[in-house]
Subunit: 260 residues, 2 copies
């Protein structure tokens, strides 16, 4: 039994059947930093070799799991209890999305409450007697045509929402491989270089379209999220096109000289 | 190959190894309403019996899956491509949470773009050559001490975010089993009943605390989310306590009468 402070919810697996699923649930919890597992009346006893095999890397979740004969015993230290269910029950109870529930759980835990989340056995899910002591129900909004989530998947989604609600990962970052975005000046100079070479190459045609074509070119370069490294690559390409042209120009002029 | 309009992203499994994982990925997709699977170069060929066995209930995702020899071929019709990776790469690329990515994917699809999401093979994940054509990277913010998500779990989380971004499920509802919340008047009358019986029972004591005790009682009844059915249950309890008391009062008064 863990004595760590309850800075996270306990996940209670109620009468789980297959060891594989207990192990997979342990992995799913630890993927999102959760370590407080409780198991009530595991069908195949405890410890469970298959659970250990499947938990690889998250074995310490199983080592520290609390094992109880009844759900009531597993909930003795829980102040606020969520029960996960797929189908509606004949019980008056708030029904929350995982998102709302885990946001609420964070607030409860921040105010010193001990939170538990119940997960039912694989086949039938929680019975109404398991759900009665729960303060609220968590229901994952799945495709109504195919609502069957397995135990470890349900654990994964609730654990994911727990972490997401407290996550400080920026929703978007740019990973720069040893570079940075090109500055306005660098982009402008690249535009100048493009214009110069393209003018030499006879790209801008017919004359009355030239201003429009040049504006489009500048607009494209402005819009693309070019890095300094991209800009340097383009400069290199433009120089190489010029070299290529001058080589073939001198090659073709050489025979002409011979013929002169 | 599906000809349905691309109102959802295609999930592309790149060189998946185990049929079980392909089947589990199909289930995870269909749990959240996604049906457009593409598979490139599955290690064990196609069709795959184990994939079919594991997909039970989501078999039509496999039946309709597009099978390609190369990732490039699988992406031929994609306008915007996300690649899922766990570890950082030496590639300049935006890195998004699943949440942000799927919100963006909805916006792209709403504007007629075709979106694909790449998932790498089980062991090593996507190679840099697979990632290069991607517009952006999706990275699930996992526990850095235990970041290993399996293929089907990664598919599940991205599919969940896809659905969540477009989901209209209220974050909280109250499921009422043939009842409704008690009205203010009903709660007030219950308070009156409590006060009456508790006064008879001698609960309010000492006299100087009585106003405070009564306020606390009213506050508790106000705060608890009592249903009409709960209120009726409490009225029944209070009546029964009164009956119990009067029964024992008359029983104890009877012998006294005999003794008179």
């Amino acid at each position: 039994m863990s004595v760590s402070p309850p800075d996270q919810p306990a996940f209670v697996l109620v009468r789980p059947q297959m060891g594989e699923n207990i192990g997979a649930a342990a992995r799913a919890m630890f993927n999102f930093g959760l370590t407080q597992m409780r198991v009530t009346a595991p069908r195949d006893g405890w410890p469970n070799e298959r659970a250990v095999a499947l938990a690889s890397g998250a074995g310490r979740i199983l080592d520290n799991a609390g094992i109880f004969n009844t759900t009531r015993a597993a909930l003795r230290e829980a102040d606020y209890i969520y029960a996960t269910t797929a189908r509606p029950r004949e019980l008056t109870k708030p029904v929350l999305t995982p998102e709302r529930a885990m946001a609420q759980a964070r607030a409860l835990i921040d105010s010193g409450q001990r939170v538990a989340v119940l997960f039912g056995p694989e086949r039938a899910g929680l019975e109404n007697d398991d759900i009665a002591p729960a303060d609220a129900i968590i229901s994952v909004p799945v495709n109504p045509d195919f609502p069957s989530l397995n135990l470890a998947q349900c654990v994964l989604l609730v654990a994911y929402e727990w972490r997401r609600q407290g996550d400080t990962t920026p929703p978007e970052i740019i990973e720069f491989a040893k570079t940075r975005f090109a500055s306005g000046l660098e982009t402008e100079k690249l535009g100048d270089h493009f214009e110069e070479r393209l003018t030499q190459a006879g790209f801008f045609h017919p004359p009355d379209k030239i201003p429009h074509m040049k504006t489009n070119l500048r607009n494209m370069l402005g819009r693309l999220p070019l890095t300094l490294s991209d800009v340097q690559t383009f400069h290199g390409m433009l120089r190489q096109f010029a070299r290529w042209q001058s080589k073939s120009a001198s090659a073709s002029s050489a025979p002409e000289t011979d013929n002169d």
